[in-house]
């Protein structure tokens, strides 16, 4: 575990926790390593939400369970967090908010509201707190003030100067806090951008050429749609709110058919409704890009929390048999590659491609330096049709060239029944076998386009630790700080089909540990199924939270 400090803000939905988070992270990203994430309840106002901001002098990509500094926003903000308090945690808040804190804990009363009023308006309270924290950790007040100015300029000069005053008042107090951490900032640091998974996926979709989105709102999948709607002012994207998820994927398939690069986004429950259409994409050989943002199920489950329990659903969605691809971003920057690549692969192989993320990965804020995109992924595989065009021609390449209606002299006949080369319904046994094998043969073709796993850690490769998706960061951090364990970390960004390149590695390993954020070990099962071996150990978590770095280190340390 890296040297770091963990600050947690706790309050109600609507109390502005997120604003403080954004201010802090944006300020700090210019001078330190920072990572933040939030926990929210499934309600619009009230309840108890919290934000964790972790700061370090080394790169970090994970949350910590144990809290160093806790800021309470109201009188019922403490309870839920008490297991995360240790004896030197400092708990801040207005006097009444601290009442519920057991006396054994260290509290510190700060009258943020008074500071705000002093600055001219009780509404500046959060800014005063921001100032306090910035002071405590010695953040650049210039950077902070620039941000405040930028944020409030539209609201007028008074608001700007009021907020700055509140910030200064807080900052001054924070600077002299006796419990403030010793410097945690790296000596040399290139300022970085801070982004969420949602930001990166949005850009990835644009880099993949998305120009049509049909989706039905469902957390945490909705943000991608919302952000693409925002971006539709800069690039051509037609965004349509579908009447339900069934419509959404059928519309996406219809849109590809007519020449668009289309995307839908949803969560497990919404995706469950799409499964018939996934099969439609399978037999019609239609491209489709589907973003499935996981949250804990079954059914409505814990709608605002995180989990990795929809891998099976995505793997096997749809009746009958047909090829598909599943990509799951691990590192933040993978979001661009994964999402843009999804469009390319969908178009190239005429298959549904799934991007599997989760609430935690999407909503965490993390740092990047420079982002890359591959313009190749914009390439369109659509052909102009000739008069005698046959949509399902048996082509040497193994893939029938895909025309679209209205572009060329041919007709584009697409059928959900088994069909002949022209796209007409057939019940011929031999045609069935030929078409079915043509479709399934794409699994072979796709082998040349596999996104290889990220391999790190011990070079011996005897003690493997396998992972996929959002657990990447926390596992990396745990292993980088504990090379003594001797794990080789193999992280799969392409979750399906699994690469054959690592088959030898996996079959030859002495032990295989799989870490997942679910209760049954779905990826471990996929490994067993694919390679016909037994996984030695499954580390699983399924309470709705992501893994915390300290928790994971303890789990791994215990059984070494």
């Amino acid at each position: 575990m890296r040297d770091s400090i963990t600050i947690v803000l706790s309050g109600e939905a609507g109390q502005g926790l997120q604003t403080v988070e954004e201010f802090l992270v944006e300020t700090l990203t210019q001078e330190a390593y920072v990572f933040s994430s939030k926990e929210v309840m499934s309600r619009v106002r009230g309840g108890n939400n919290s934000v964790e901001i972790r700061i370090s002098d080394h790169p970090i990509q994970a949350l910590r369970y144990t809290i160093d500094y806790l800021f309470l926003f109201n009188d019922h903000a403490f309870d839920r967090l008490s297991p995360r308090i240790k004896k030197d945690t400092v708990i801040y808040g207005e006097a009444p908010f601290l009442k519920s804190v057991p006396t054994k804990f260290k509290t510190k009363e700060v009258a943020f509201l008074d500071l705000a009023k002093q600055a001219g308006n009780r509404l500046y309270e959060n800014t005063a707190m921001f100032g306090y924290i910035a002071g405590m950790i010695d953040a650049s007040s210039d950077n902070a003030k620039a941000l405040i100015t930028k944020r409030f300029t539209k609201r007028g000069e008074d608001i700007v100067s009021g907020n700055i005053k509140a910030f200064d008042l807080g900052y001054a107090l924070g600077l002299v806090d006796a419990d403030r951490p010793k410097a945690l900032k790296p000596l040399k640091f290139t300022p970085k951008r801070v982004m969420t998974g949602n930001d990166v996926l949005t850009l990835g979709a644009i880099a993949g050429g998305v120009n049509y989105v049909a989706a039905y709102p469902m957390s945490p999948g909705t943000s991608l749609m919302t952000m693409l709607e925002e971006k539709s002012r800069d690039v051509d994207i037609l965004v349509e709110q579908a009447e339900d998820e069934i419509a959404a994927l059928n519309m996406v398939i219809g849109a590809w058919y007519a020449g668009a690069r289309a995307l839908t986004t949803t969560s497990g429950g919404g995706f469950a409704l799409m499964t018939e259409a996934v099969s439609l994409a399978g037999i019609t050989e239609s491209p489709a890009v589907v973003h499935v943002a996981q949250r804990p199920g079954p059914a409505t489950g814990l709608p605002t929390r995180t989990e990795q329990a929809d891998l099976n659903l995505v793997l096997y969605a749809g009746h009958g048999e047909f090829p598909r691809m599943i990509l799951a971003p691990g590192r933040l920057e993978d979001g661009i590659e994964v999402m843009s690549r999804a469009f390319y692969m969908a178009d190239k192989y005429q298959i549904p491609v799934f991007v599997l993320s989760d609430q935690y990965w999407l909503e965490s804020m993390s740092q990047v330096e420079h982002l890359e995109f591959n313009p190749k992924y914009l390439e369109s595989f659509v052909v102009k049709t000739e008069r005698d065009y046959k949509r399902y021609a048996f082509d040497q390449s193994g893939i029938s060239p895909r025309g679209i209606p209205g572009y060329g002299l041919g007709y584009v006949k697409v059928d959900s029944d088994e069909h002949d080369e022209e796209g007409m319904i057939t019940e011929s046994f031999t045609m069935r076998v030929d078409m079915h094998e043509k479709r399934l043969h794409k699994f072979e073709l796709m082998k040349e386009d596999i996104l290889e796993p990220l391999i790190s850690g011990a070079t011996e490769k005897e003690k493997l630790l396998l992972s996929w998706g959002s657990t990447y960061g926390v596992i990396e951090e745990a292993l980088v700080t504990n090379p003594k364990w001797g794990y080789t970390h193999v992280h799969f960004t392409q979750v399906y089909p699994l690469p054959t390149s690592v088959e030898k590695l996996i079959r030859g390993a002495k032990s295989i540990t799989v870490i997942e954020n679910n209760a049954t070990g779905q990826f471990a099962n996929l490994i067993q199924m694919t390679y016909g071996i037994k996984v030695s150990r499954r580390i699983l978590k399924y309470n709705g939270e992501p893994y915390h770095i300290d928790e994971l280190v303890t789990i791994l340390e215990e059984k070494q």
Partner: protein, 284 residues
Amino acid sequence: MTKFEFNHDIDIAWCPGCGNFPLRNILIKALQELELDPTQVVFSSGIGQAAKMPQYVDASYFNGLHGRGMAVASAISAVNPKLTVIAEGGDGDMYGEGGNHLIHNIRRNPHLIHIVHNNMVYGLTKGQASPTSPIGLITPIQLDGVYNQPINPMALALAMGATFVGRGFSGDQEKTKELIKAAILHNGYAIVDIFHPCVTYNKVNTFAWYKSHTFWLDETYIKTDKLAAMKLALDEEKLACGILFQVEGKSYPQRHPFYKGDLTPLYLRKRDPKVIEKLINPTK
């Protein structure tokens, strides 16, 4: 004229005597008379006997899932508003399984024609009740007769704000053809419900039954009065055929902020990598 017809024999999967045959003639004639270019016409259908129609008309089609023809059609026309898009299927397909797409697409007013073959029964799956089956119809699953109130597609479309609401009958070929032509020429969503007998499974709503229960609206009928149309639609004794209602309205590509008057289809709009670079690394 041979457009939309095949230049070879085709094997049609309908029963001899089925109302789908005259419907096919009507449809092809309508398309021919409007001199549409078959490369610019796209059918979208689901599953059912009616939904097989696109197989038998030589043009592009997307023959998708039961009930989802309208969703696919809506996206096709959204993405390329220059195409003539026809969503076609049976009463089970379009009013049953596809009911939610029906009501919400009427709200969108997509630029497409919606043709529903209304034989008041599920043909392909062998005779169960459809949403338009009359009360009392005996079927393999309703052995004591249908007991649910049948759907009234005309009243429903009117209530949902459709801008073109029409009904035809495959037994009245000339008039039904003109009705379909008018629907194709309409700007926005046009629903055409077409009665036709299922000779195999519906022994109640036969050719003769339709003949005696329908009448055609004449020129004196004022088709812009929604309440009058609703009154006609709600009359289930004498079933009005023709255009029950038609008004002008902004169609989807005119309403959606995306197009802003430029109807260039999406496939012709290329994305500029420079713009992407700017969005991805804005500070550079």
